[in-house]
Amino acid sequence: MTRTSPRWRWLVAMMLVLGVFAAACGSDSDTSSTDDTSGGSGSSTELPAAEITGSGSTFQAAYNNEVIQAFKSVQPNVTVIYPPTNSGGSGKGQTDLQAELVEFAGSDGVPKEEELPLYQGGDLLYFPTVAAPITVSYNVSGVDELKLDGDTIAKIFQGQITKWNDPAIADLNRGVDLPDADIVAVHRSESSGTTANFTKFLTLAAPNTWTLGTDKTIAWTGGQAAEGNGGVTNAVKSTPNSIGYIDYSDAKAGGLSFASIKNKDGKFVKASTESASAAVAGATINPDLSYDPIFDPGADSYAITSPTYIVIYKNQTDAAKGNAMKAFLEYIYGDGQEIATTIDYAPLSSELLSKAKAQLDDIVIP
C-alpha cells in the first residue's frame, strides 16, 4: 500500500488556500501607500491615497501617460491608471464609464444625446484636454511629400481609387514618382473616436463623394483593420503601399510620412502642433465645452484636427477619488499644457483653457 499520506495533501491544500487568502487580504504595497511621507513637492496640499482609473481613446493615450508620470511627482499618493496599450478606443471608454467601471473615460468626441441615459452615474462633464492632428500616414517608398484632398482620400478609403498612380492622386502631386501599386487602406477594427473624427472630416470635405457616413464604427468595404492608433501605426509601418489615419504623436514616433491635406481655405497644410493650434483657435466652443475644429476655416489650420476629452460624472461618489480626479485635471490645465507640445499634442486655446478651468468648480465632491 502506498505511503503517501493524505495528510500531506490536505496540508499542501490548506497552505495554498491560506496563502491565497493572505495575499488577497494582504496589503497592496505599491498601489496605495498610506504612509504619510509629508514633505511632498509643490505648493498643492498632498492628497491622501487614491486610485483613479480611466480607459478609452488611444488617441490621447500617449499624452495621458506622459502626464500621469509627471503627475506622480506632484501627488505621490495618487495613482492614475490609463492603459498605455489596448485602452480600447473611445467606445470602450464610454461603455466602461456607463457601467461605472472606471472613474474617467478618454473620448475623442462627446457621447451622443440618445446615449446619455445609459450613464448610470448621472450627469456628465466634458473636459477637453489637448488637441492633435489626425495624420493621413502612408508607406510608399521614395515618396516623401504627398498632397491629398478630402475627395481623393474619400475615394481611396472607399476603394474607388485603387492604385497609387491613379490620375486623381497624380494630379495633386505633379512631379512625384508614384508607383503602380495597389493601395492598402488601413482603418480601425474597434469603435474609435479617431475614426469618427476622420470620417467627419470626409463628410465635410467631400460631401458628394463620401458615402459611408460618420461614426465611431464604419461599415468599411475593404482595406485592412488594426486595433488602436498603435495598431494602425504598426500596420502601415509594416505593409508596403499602405495608408492609414493615425494621431500625430504616434505617426511621428513611428517614423511615418504623412500627407499635407487641403483645408477649407484651399491650402495644403501639413500636420503639426502649430497647424492644429490654429484650427483649435478658430473653433466655436459650445456651452458643454465640446468644440469642433475639423475642417474649420483658417489659412494655417490643419484640416483634420481632432479634439479629445476626459469625461467624468459630475457627481462624484468618493471624496478621495473625486479630489484626486480634480487634482489630475488641474494638473493637465497647468503644467500639463506645456507637456503637450513635447510629445506632439497641441495645447488648448486660452479661451478654452479658462473655460475648462472654470468648469472644474462644477465637480460635486462629497
Binding site: Q98, V184, E190, S191, A219, G223, Q224, A225
Partner: protein, 331 residues
C-alpha cells in the same frame, strides 16, 4: 476490624481498535454531501453560463431573428447584426487548419506507432506535447512578427503565378493580398491543432490489435500495406473523432486568430489571401466598446460558438464511445 473502604477494582477497558471514533457516520455523511455538492456545482455553473449568456444575447436574437445567422451585414452603427461572414470565417479557417493539420498529425502518429524505433517514441511524444503547451498569444505574436512578413511575398508570388487560372487563381488571391488573412490564420491554427489530433490518433493507432498487424506481415505485406490494411480500417472512427476534436479546438481559438486574420467583417470570399474575420475574433475586437444591442449580438456569437463546439464535441465523444464499445472497453 477496619471496614474495607477501598473501591472495588474496575474491569480493564476492552482493547480499542486504532483510530476508532464513535461519530464516524457524521464525517462519512458530511463528506458524501460535500462531494455531491461539488458535483452539482458543475451543473450549476454550466447552467448559469448557458442561462446568463443566452439572456444577455436575447435582445439581439429578437431584433434580427434568423437574419442573425444568414444575413451578411454586420453594421453596428446602423443597428444591423447579420453575422454570416463570421460563421463563414470561422469555418473557413478551421477547414484550412484541418486540411493542413490532419495529414501531418496522421503522419506523426504513424511515425510514433509504426515507424520509429522504440527509444525514439517517448522523446517524439514529448516534443509534440511541448507544442501543445505554447500559449495561444505566443502563437499570435510569432505569427504576426515572424510568419506574416515572411509569407506575404510568397502569397504575392502565388497570386501572380496563378492569376487567370480557373479555380486556383481565385483561391490564391486576395483583395488585397494580405499577410493578415484567412490563410495565415488557418496555417497558424493548423500548428496549434496538430498536437491534439496527433495525440488522439496515436492512441487509436496504438490499440490496433497486434494479431491483425502480425497477420498482415506474415502474409508478406509491406509496412505501408499493413498500415492501410490493418491500422486504418480499425482506426477510422477514432480518426474521425480526432478530427472533430481538432475542429472544436480550432473553432474556439481566439487570440491567435484575432492577431492574424485581419479583422475585416462582412467578407465572404473564396480568396484565401484576403483579410476577414471569425466569430471568436470579432468578439474580442469589438466587445470592449460595445453596448446595448451590439453587445447582445456579440454575446450571441459567443452562445453560437458554444453550441457549435458542443455539437462537434458530442459527435466526437459518441464516435469514441462507439469505437470503445467495439473494442470491448466498457465506460
Amino acid at each position: 476490624m477496619a471496614l474495607d473502604l477501598q473501591p472495588p477494582p474496575t474491569r480493564p477497558s476492552a482493547p480499542r481498535l486504532a483510530d476508532e471514533r464513535p461519530p464516524g457516520i457524521v464525517v462519512d455523511t458530511a463528506f458524501r454531501w460535500l462531494a455531491f455538492a461539488a458535483g452539482m456545482l458543475v451543473l450549476v455553473i454550466l447552467g448559469l453560463i448557458l442561462y446568463s449568456t443566452t439572456e444577455q444575447a436575447w435582445p439581439a436574437f429578437q431584433a434580427e431573428g434568423i437574419d442573425f445567422l444568414i444575413k451578411n451585414d454586420w453594421n453596428p452603427a446602423a443597428g444591423s447584426y447579420g453575422a454570416l461572414s463570421f460563421v463563414f470565417g470561422t469555418l473557413l479557417i478551421s477547414v484550412i487548419a484541418l486540411l493542413i493539420a490532419v495529414p501531418i498529425s496522421l503522419g506523426i502518429a504513424l511515425f510514433v506507432t509504426e515507424v520509429a524505433p522504440s527509444w525514439l517514441r517517448r522523446p517524439v511524444i514529448t516534443v509534440i506535447d511541448l507544442l501543445a503547451t505554447i500559449p495561444s498569444v505566443v502563437f499570435g505574436l510569432w505569427g504576426a512578427y515572424v510568419f506574416a512578413p515572411w509569407v506575404l511575398p510568397r502569397y504575392e508570388d502565388l497570386a501572380n503565378a496563378f492569376s487567370g487560372v480557373p479555380v486556383l487563381g481565385t483561391l490564391f488571391n486576395g483583395t488585397p493580398v494580405s499577410a493578415r488573412s484567412f490563410m495565415t490564420a488557418g496555417i497558424i491554427l493548423a500548428i496549434m491543432v496538430i498536437p491534439i489530433v496527433t495525440s488522439i490518433t496515436r492512441e487509436v493507432f496504438a490499440t490496433t490489435p497486434a494479431a491483425q498487424k502480425e497477420g498482415a506481415m506474415a502474409l508478406g505485406a509491406t509496412r505501408w500495406e499493413m498500415i492501410r490494411g490493418a491500422v486504418f480500417p480499425h482506426a477510422r472512427s477514432g480518426i474521425t473523432s480526432a478530427v472533430l476534436i481538432g475542429l472544436g479546438r480550432a473553432i474556439g481559438e481566439t487570440i491567435a486568430v484575432v492577431l492574424l486574420i485581419g479583422s475585416l467583417p462582412n467578407k465572404i470570399t473564396a480568396e484565401l489571401f484576403s483579410p476577414g474575420d471569425s466569430m471568436a475574433s470579432v468578439i474580442v475586437s469589438q466587445f470592449g466598446e460595445a453596448s446595448g444591442t451590439h453587445r447582445s449580438a456579440l454575446i450571441g456569437l459567443g452562445v453560437l460558438l458554444f453550441i457549435i463546439t458542443l455539437i462537434v464535441g458530442v459527435i466526437a465523444r459518441g464516435l469514441i464511445a462507439r469505437s470503445d464499445r467495439k473494442l470491448g472497453l466498457a465506460r
